[in-house]
């Protein structure tokens, strides 16, 4: 595992170049160019704001007001997460030429997929924060400084899952199709459009449906729950992150990354022939 991480570190220049290439290539040919990295979340935020202030007016309580900002707080990192896993799962197949024709460290590809999407998140974040300052009067809290830790945790988790998906997708192409649906389900099982408390209330209510009960019961086993908590607490609530749950999530994420690298390394030799 040490070998694996140092290997990634050794390829940092390559990774950096490829991430830059991804970003450059993505907007090449569009008039807006890099501006789209800001415009996209901006437009999305506008859409959600309109929808949730005029069409829906969900009863979510004071805690999540304004709702569009609450929603967006989790939606932006979730977009990073979901796009990372989708792209990483596809990365070896898409980059087959490199693996087949060059002496190329394959693990670089899923890592680049995760990082390139991470950069998009980081570019969208300032837009969000500006909106935050406009619509919330109380300003940002110093607890925002916890944000890097939350982002780091998500990065580690995404890398681990990305490596696993990349390696397995080569052999089981079905994964790519399943993944889209799994991610949709996962989205709704994670407190992004609702709050933990809201779910808990629904689960505890008299005559509650079994679904919220089950979801609530297993909520803590979902690492994304704690990562989303981190975002909500550090940005939206402006309070201290959960100092027990997040570090545990980080440790779990590292274990997933190690397992992912191990699996990837195990299957590495089969990639050039299978992609």
């Amino acid at each position: 595992m040490n070998h694996g991480l140092s290997n990634l570190f050794r390829h940092r220049v390559l990774i950096q170049s490829l991430v830059m290439r991804e970003l450059k290539a993505r907007y090449r040919g569009s008039v807006g160019g890099y501006l789209w990295s800001f415009l996209n979340p901006l437009l999305l935020l506008a859409v959600y704001t309109i929808v949730f202030t005029t069409i829906f007016q969900p009863q979510r309580g004071e805690a999540v007001d304004p709702y569009a900002l609450y929603l967006f707080c989790g939606l932006l990192p979730w977009t990073w997460f979901a796009a990372s896993l989708t792209d990483a799962g596809n990365s070896l197949i898409a980059g087959g030429n490199l693996i087949k024709k060059l002496i190329f460290p394959a693990e670089v590809l899923p890592v680049v997929a995760v990082l390139a999407n991470g950069v998009h998140y980081l570019l969208g974040l300032p837009v969000y924060l500006v909106f935050w300052l406009i619509f919330k009067d109380d300003g940002l809290s110093l607890h925002l400084l916890w944000l890097p830790l939350v982002i780091f945790t998500q990065l580690i988790l995404s890398l681990g899952l990305g490596l696993i998906l990349a390696a397995l997708s080569v052999h089981f192409r079905d994964i790519r199709d399943i993944l889209a649906n799994v991610l949709t389900l996962w989205f709704f099982l994670t407190p992004i459009i609702y709050t933990r408390d809201f779910l808990q209330t629904r689960a505890d209510a008299d005559g509650a449906h079994w679904v919220p009960k089950v979801v609530a019961a297993f909520l803590d086993l979902n690492p994304m729950t704690h990562i989303m908590d981190g975002y909500h607490l550090s940005i939206f609530e402006g309070t201290l992150i959960n100092w027990k749950r997040l570090p545990v999530t980080l440790v779990v994420s590292f274990l997933i990354l190690m397992a992912g690298y191990w699996l990837f390394d195990r299957l590495r030799d089969s990639f050039p022939e299978e992609v």
């Binding site: 220049v13 170049s17 290439r21 450059k24 024709k101 060059l102 002496i103 030799d269 050039p272 022939e273």
Partner: protein, 502 residues
């Protein structure tokens, strides 16, 4: 990217060592090949052990060494395992069994421009490709101008790569790969890219590489480049080393084998085609060849306006195949009062062959069968190359034979003391027809033969010629000396080749 393979043993002068390498590929895809996931993970093998019937052995116990500074050529027919060997040495593919040791940085020119991103500029691609191939950013910066200059892309380097022509793409790819400055350079057929001038530049670059004591492994179908560049040649046949050693000797042995193989194929093909073609009456004659000839005739008339009498006989006259550029289609037609029963190509010793060396004596032997006696007849032959160009055509009428009588069976021989056709495949038009062109039996392209040549001259035919020099001109080497040496070696080539294998 520098490869990380087993460490190099001190005191060993091999730059590359391949030890009993075997490589097997699965034939059947995806059918019942998974074990349980758990055992797959624990065993490190996602697939069950394959039955011999399911695998294709691309390389079978191949061992070879390349000394530092040596240029090794690998030749062999398609599917012989050449590219697999290269990929295994490059490290992009792992051998099923055996070991590979490589000393120093490897650069593989397997597919040029693999890894270029079409949307971004040539400049950015040079950097990323250079880094992918193992250079640091600093090194790419230093070599950037050389890379662009070598690729001759100064004016286009800031345009997206997707706007490049395939030649530009290849040139840039080659230029980056060669500027990596590796210890070991692996080249797979990439010299076929670019125009003549660029190929020469590449060859110069490789020669400079050699002079600096670098090791080169060249996989190529161009025996000429192999002969010119390589110090030693390995001939792979069905995944095994068939022969290795001196380039002229191994190449000769390989060419011999190819010639034998081709003879068999050409013989089988000629018989099959002759048998397949229907022998209908003139009215049912396959239309296309007629049409082609007609079109050609019209063209002739239009162009020259001239000799209508001659054009009239063109129709069935192979000598008139100067139609030349007309698409070449094979077929057989005629009234069959006389048929060409048998066609044989004989070498100087009277043995039947389909492959000849340029300059060999050849006899074309036709056996004619007349079902009824005719006294108006001419016999014609035409030799076409693969482009449909008539290399030579004649008939008995043109050569002022006056027809007497043809009945029963007859044998016609055309002796060609020196078949001076350059290397290539040729098709024969053979015909027996009336003087006015009405065909008794016209066979177009049913007989094929091949000529091979040790030298790669171009054109259609080799005109007899010799070089002589006077004054202030001298040569380090003349072909006479080499030809003699090569000839002597050639005789024992098969024997020596077998001896050297392994």
């Amino acid at each position: 990217m520098a490869s990380e393979r087993a460490p190099y043993h001190a005191g060993d002068h091999a730059a590359v060592r391949v030890q009993s390498v075997r490589k097997q590929y699965r034939k059947a895809a995806h059918a019942h090949r998974f074990l349980t996931f758990k055992s797959a993970l624990l065993g490190g093998d996602l697939f069950k052990v394959l039955a011999p019937a399911d695998v294709f052995t691309a390389l079978d116990e191949v061992s070879l060494e390349i000394a530092r500074g040596e240029t090794l050529g690998v030749i062999g027919s398609n599917g012989a395992g050449k590219s697999t060997l290269l990929k295994i040495i490059a490290g992009t593919t792992k051998p099923t069994a055996g070991a590979v040791f490589v000393d120093g940085k490897v650069s593989a020119l397997i597919e040029l421009g693999a890894g270029f991103h079409p949307e971004i500029s040539g400049r950015e691609n040079v950097f990323i490709n250079g880094i992918m191939l193992g250079l640091s950013r600093q090194q790419v910066t230093e070599r950037f101008d050389d890379i662009v200059a070598f690729a001759e892309l100064e004016d286009f380097i800031d345009a997206p790569v997707k706007t490049y022509s395939s030649g530009m793409y290849m040139r840039l790819g080659f230029s980056i790969a060669i500027h990596i400055d590796p210890e070991v350079l692996l080249i797979d057929e990439v010299l076929a890219v670019g125009d003549e001038a660029f190929v020469h530049k590449c060859l110069d670059k490789l020669a400079a590489f050699k002079r600096r004591g670098k090791t080169i492994l060249l996989v190529s179908h161009s025996l000429e480049s192999v002969r010119r560049l390589c110090d030693r040649v390995v001939w792979l046949k069905n995944g095994k080393v068939e022969a290795s050693g001196d380039p002229p000797r191994v190449i000769d042995a390989y060419l011999n084998w190819v010639a034998h193989k081709e003879e068999g194929e050409l013989a089988a093909g000629s018989e099959r085609r002759t048998a397949e073609v229907s022998t209908g009456n003139p009215g049912d004659a396959p239309g296309a060849p007629h049409d082609a000839a007609d079109v050609a005739n019209v063209a002739n008339v239009a162009k020259g306006g001239g000799d209508t009498a001659a054009t009239g006989t063109d129709d069935a006259d192979p000598a008139a195949g100067t139609a030349g550029a007309a698409p070449y289609e094979t077929g057989r037609w005629g009234s069959h009062q006389v048929v060409i029963d048998k066609v044989r190509l004989l070498d100087g010793a009277g043995e039947q062959h389909y492959v000849f060396t340029c300059g060999d004596p050849v006899t074309l032997e036709l056996t004619l069968l007349a079902t009824e006696a005719v006294n108006d007849f001419a016999i014609g032959i035409g030799i076409f190359n693969a482009d449909g160009v008539c290399c030579y055509g004649t008939n008995t009428d043109i050569e002022r034979f006056e027809a007497g009588r043809l009945e029963g069976s007859a044998t016609v021989r055309v002796e060609i003391p020196e078949l001076n056709l350059i290397e290539g495949t040729y098709y024969l038009d053979l015909a027996v027809h009336r003087i006015d062109g009405y065909p008794y039996d016209y066979q177009r392209g049913l007989t094929r033969f091949r000529t091979t040549s040790p030298i790669a001259d171009t054109g259609v035919a080799r005109l007899p010629h010799s070089w002589s020099f006077e004054g202030g001109i001298s040569w380090k080497k003349t072909p006479d000396a080499e030809a003699n040496a090569g000839h002597d070696a050639g005789h024992d080539a098969d024997h020596d080749a077998d001896h050297d294998a392994g």
